[in-house]
Symmetry: C2
Subunit: 768 residues, 2 copies
């Protein structure tokens, strides 16, 4: 008599009559990226998803969002099936009202007194609620789906139906027919005819949940679905009971790993809890259906949980039969942090040695690198989707490798005086000495597009500053990056820290990486402003180094020298118009307007084919002028610029404060006082006098190399070299000192004597 | 014939027959905070809110969320009315399907050919759609509200109904009766009987919108509603057309300011656009109903837009008849930034002078300050809701003011060598010189609870470092803060920068302030860890200085001296248990476990009444042990601590890395080598050897004062004094240098010669 057994019996049965359907519809997907190919998808909605928790009314907003996502996936040509709970909740809400009403009428009839206090909603029998709610629930689904012109069909089943071959085949062909007609079948257990649950206070109102996990798994396999998405109120599977110190959400679960999971106590409502869910999921997986268990109630992800899963994003726990080679990105971050700590504790000379070794390999192993790069170039050219500028950046040459090696050797020198430098020494009191020393920041995530030369450069800076790295390159440079990374590991291996620089699989989504706030201390994007903006938006709680805009200004003062103006303006705009440090707005003093200099500037820009957009002030002064700018806050990034007139140096400063991006701004003048005022007043990271904006660059500043240019006001600003990758820690050495010793009644006094710190690390080592 | 006139006529009529209802139900609310008192609320849903845009199906998720919010407000005892669009969209979706079906049948009957390509949905007449959709829309509202046990009623009206006194009174009494019965009236225009719109392609599908703004205003005044919330797809009212460089959302709009608004072009759909909405809003306002115009379609705020408005949050544009005294917080931030720039350009001596002057006033004007503080204390005591620890912090004494003044004088000295210090000088090439100099960060927002002594301290640090400040103190210290702020302004006035430190009104919501990312560069919370965590969560894109947790460890090594252990452990835990730098976990080396030292430690902690929680390792070693910790990551903040055993110094380091918060960690040992390993390996901001964790403090470190302790890895770490409030900028002085000069074909070479920078600012001044 199966119906009197618990859920576990059912599951063990499911496992007994296993090896089901012999994967007739092909095997499940190996990794999340493949989920995009899922054609037939079963979405299982647990009662926690469909209802508003204890109140048991329906969670309408969530349902609407789910309907929207299902309709969207359906419109992409996928076949969608829904297994839903919720009829009980709907019915309960409906019956509660009815019963209160009839009770009060009965009371009024039977007694004169109005003891309405006693009137309470009786415990409603769940199956009765289900029967009362079923029609309303379906009507709601239908009304919602009809807003997307999608038809639905109601299908009520019991697990028993799967045991009878004829019934099962009938169900199968009915569902096939519905899917053929683009109808979304909405499946629920026929609660009215299933046996009542065993007495258990937990069960009230959620009678059907215990069957829905296994029902959904059964159905998914029966219908040869590619994917089963099981939504409830848990994030997924944890390696320890959620809430304990070590609990981590399992991203991908392999059947072989089952032993490493500790199941938590059963969930608040329903039977089975996570263990039953996992068993059902494993059964479906063996049947050839991929499974994702995820939270459908979290307001942050509700909007997109289903489509996110289908798009391969890291949501919930993904069940896979094939364990992918190599560690997960979380494991990589962990390895990087540990190995990075060892790297940080090496002697500066050893870090320097690693970077030198890497520099050597860039030239010695040139052929290997260039061969890999050639492969990437060939793929990119034949695919034909990369713009030519991108192709140029992707390509490595012998010359590029040579100059990279030169840069790396500079970094190696700088590495000898970076980590562990004493910035401040204070004798706090007798026997109590305080030091502030430089230390690495920790673990960086570097995200770079198309430019494989970023890889050794950033790795060298990270190694020199004792930081660990996760590198995420683009697919287009996969071969080159792979070779370069191998060389870096070889260099690191010399001192046993080869795990400090990890290459993240190209499969990993950038947005998923940007959420690893417990594991990553700083994100460094190297690429277009769009990439930087996307990452700034995606980074939850992790600082992002860099700038999203480079709206640089050149101000031509009344006292400017003609020669310098033409030279600097041409260089600032035309030397490399796509660079972030190239000029976007040219501000000229009004007194220049009707002079030959003005014409010379315009002629020069015309000769260089720079398209001019006029600012509102300029337009008001000219009879005929170029077309007006759409916004004074535009980064053109090519041979275009805005030209505007200001009345004074002060107005130029105000204009730049209002419309600039605090990157780099230039004044051209022969008047020292005006220049110093400009340099003093402007807030920007780089302010230049009589020099091209193009000098805003780590190499040109003499920093050796840079990881980027920052416009932040917190942390580093301007070109960021080695020093920007360090933070500090305070080291206090005492002899049993306590704060109480220094209180009113204590016997110690603060001295706070500054001690000398002028020595470099090298000098410190020599003198000790 | 009013019905053939445009919307403007209607509005001008509304304005003509103005002075309506003579504010019989009291005047509108003066500021957003009062909106919480709104008893009767009309929520107007524009068609952009109810529909999914161009597709014209209903936006079910948004509707569900709106229903939830309305039901929630209703359950608080408010009377809610909804004015809705959407019938047309609902009908269109329904009719489209029907028409396609009947067309295909007709085609199949009339012709043999199957030119289904020609089959397209004809342009549907909006009023027909409305009629077809009305019932479905109402059924949907009803089904949704029934999930919250809320009854609804359908009311169809036309603007004409308001012109006939009898009809108007009938409508009025019907609605009053519905509200009396706790029913939510859902009001729509009776589109089937209104005249067709003038031919205009914009109007398709949105026939009813033009009337709904004025209808909602009419209805709100007629029903003496306290608040009208008008939701559409615009954020609110802008001072310039949205999308232009200067456009800013108007937070509060006063009728008198109408001239300062430039209306944008009409909105994408519907007639009237913003101007019509504003006219309707002003009409309602004159009738005594407060109005908020807001975006009901933005996914980020959809969840809560209605309840947020009722709770007084800054959403959309609030219409008020009473212009509050003083500037808005946005204006204050603007003033602070401008005045801050002047402050930053002062001579260091001048900033120092301001701080000195403030220090003097703290003692000279003592009576004034203490009198105000006495008022705050009396209010707090009589209200009786402040815990005694909080009362102690709120109270100022003559002694406290004296020691504050001492601290400020130290800051004044440090101010002479802060802003404008040269950190690095490089000769880039002949005639091209680069400097990296310290500059202020910009504008800080300081949020502090109960402690009025924070105000002068933080202000002094900000002034000394040339930064501007927005101060947001708690209501409980309002009088004290007000006096202290006046003194600060007096001090700033000496050099004309009195606007650099602004006091934000206690009415402003912290969450609203945390969203001013364009105006604030750094948030400094001073208060409980809860406050810090709340602010870290609320701060959108603005860095927050500080730490949310201080889980500090003391590790007792095998080679520790008994005396030092007892002294340091007692001080670290008991000197001030609520402080963030007090010990939370005591780690002891296993070899100590069965020695007299172990017993002495336990006895000492017992004598000090410290409650001990045992770690899992300790439990495994003892026969009887204290109760097990719930988490090894707990900040107790009082006389409790966790006690755990480790096998080695290395295991202690691993434990701290895993469970610590990188605040302050201590080793007690006589073994120098072990100590140095510990100091080197640990990642924390402060690492101490044989000294109490309580030394982690700006004053004790000799920094003069601190704005807080930071555990960030980016920017400053540990106690943050003056230097942590500075950033840098790069100043390059050239003579017409261009990047091209340094290219392969150029005639210049990089020199990158480091120049000396050893001088302090004072020395620089003396030598120049």
């Amino acid at each position: 008599m199966w119906q009197f057994e618990g859920c576990d019996y059912l599951l063990s049965r499911l496992q007994m009559d296993s090896a089901p359907q012999s994967k007739a519809h092909g095997s499940s997907f190996a990794h999340r990226g493949e989920l995009q190919r899922a054609k037939r998808i079963v979405v299982k909605l647990g009662s926690a998803v469909v209802t508003r928790g204890d109140e048991c009314g329906l969670a309408l907003g969530r349902l609407a969002s789910i309907v929207e996502q299902v309709a969207m996936l359906q419109s992409q040509g996928r076949e969608m099936l829904i297994v839903t709970s919720g009829a009980v909740a709907f019915g309960k809400q409906r019956l509660k009202h009815e019963i209160l009403l009839s009770q009060s009428v009965r009371q009024a009839l039977h007694s004169g007194n109005t003891q309405l206090k006693d009137m309470s909603v009786p415990v409603l029998e769940a199956r009765a609620c289900a029967a009362a709610g079923q029609s309303g629930l379906m009507a709601l689904y239908e009304a919602m789906f009809s807003q997307y012109s999608t038809c639905t069909a109601q299908v009520l089943v019991t697990n028993l139906d799967f045991h009878d071959d004829e019934k099962r085949q009938n169900l199968n062909s009915t569902l096939q027919e519905l899917l053929r007609m683009n109808i979304v079948p909405i499946i629920n257990t026929n609660d009215a005819v299933v046996p009542p649950p065993e007495p258990d206070s937990d069960l009230q109102g959620v009678i059907s949940i215990k069957d829905n996990d296994s029902l959904a798994a059964r159905l998914a396999v029966e219908m040869k679905a590619n994917l089963l998405i099981a939504l409830s109120d848990v994030e997924g599977l944890y390696n320890s009971p959620p809430g304990t110190d070590d609990a981590k959400l399992v991203d991908i679960f392999y059947p072989g790993d089952q032993q490493s999971i500790t199941y938590g106590t059963k969930s608040r409502v329903g039977i089975g809890g996570m263990e039953a869910k996992v068993k059902a999921a494993l059964w479906a997986l063996r049947g050839g259906t991929s499974v994702v268990i995820a939270n459908g109630t979290n307001p942050k992800v509700t909007g997109h949980v289903i489509t996110d899963i289908v798009e391969g994003k890291k949501v919930g726990t993904f069940f896979s039969e094939i364990k992918p080679a190599g560690p997960s990105v979380e494991e990589q971050a962990e390895m990087a942090r540990n190995s990075g700590r060892t790297l940080a504790s090496l002697h500066p000379d050893q870090r320097s040695e690693i970077v030198c070794h890497l520099a050597e390999m860039l030239t010695e192993r040139k052929e290997e690198i260039l061969a890999a790069n050639k492969m990437d170039m060939e793929v990119a050219v034949s695919a034909g989707h990369l713009p030519s500028a991108m192709l140029k950046r992707l390509s490595l040459t012998s010359a590029k490798l040579n100059s990279l090696a030169v840069g790396l050797r500079q970094v190696a020198v700088a590495a000898q005086d970076s980590v562990g430098r004493v910035l401040r020494r204070t004798r706090v009191a007798h026997g109590l000495e305080l030091e502030q020393i430089t230390v690495p920041i920790g673990v960086f995530l570097v995200i770079f597009e198309a430019r494989p030369d970023c890889l050794p450069q950033l790795s060298a800076l990270a190694i020199a500053s004792g930081n660990a790295l996760l590198l995420k390159g683009g697919k287009e440079a996969a071969n080159t990056n792979s070779v370069l990374h191998r060389l870096i590991q070889e260099a690191l291996f010399v001192h046993g820290v080869q795990e400090a620089v990890q290459m993240v699989s190209t499969r990993e989504e950038v947005a998923d990486l940007c959420r690893l706030d417990k594991m990553i201390d700083l994100i460094i994007p190297r690429g277009s402003s769009q990439l930087v903006r996307d990452i700034q938006r995606a980074a939850k709680g992790i600082p992002v180094l860099g700038h999203s805009e480079g709206i640089c200004h050149v101000y031509v003062d009344a006292d400017a020298s003609i020669d310098k103006v033409l030279k600097i303006v041409r260089d600032s705009k035309c030397d490399y118009p796509a660079a972030c440090n190239s000029m976007e707005t040219l501000l000229i003093h009004r007194s220049i307007l009707r002079t030959p200099l003005f014409d010379q500037i315009i002629d020069m820009l015309r000769n260089e084919r720079v398209k001019i957009h006029a600012g509102p002030q300029l337009i008001s002064y000219l009879t005929f002028s170029p077309s007006e700018v759409t916004s004074l806050r535009t980064e053109y990034g090519d041979l275009q610029c805005c030209l505007e007139v200001v009345d004074s140096m002060q107005e130029a400063v105000d204009h730049i404060h209002k419309y600039g991006s605090s990157h780099t701004d230039v004044i051209i003048t022969e008047n020292k006082e005006t220049a110093e005022q400009f340099l003093q007043q402007l807030d920007s990271a780089c302010v230049f006098w009589n020099a091209s904006s193009r000098f805003a660059d780590g190499y040109r500043f003499g920093l050796g190399a840079e990881v980027g240019i920052s416009t932040a006001r917190i942390h580093v600003r301007g070109p960021v070299g080695l020093e920007g990758l360090l933070t500090t820690k305070w080291v206090l050495r005492g002899d049993g000192h306590t704060a109480a010793d220094f209180s009113e009644h204590g016997d110690m006094k603060y001295v706070h004597e500054n001690l000398p710190v002028g020595q470099t690390l090298a000098e410190q080592r020599n003198s000790s």
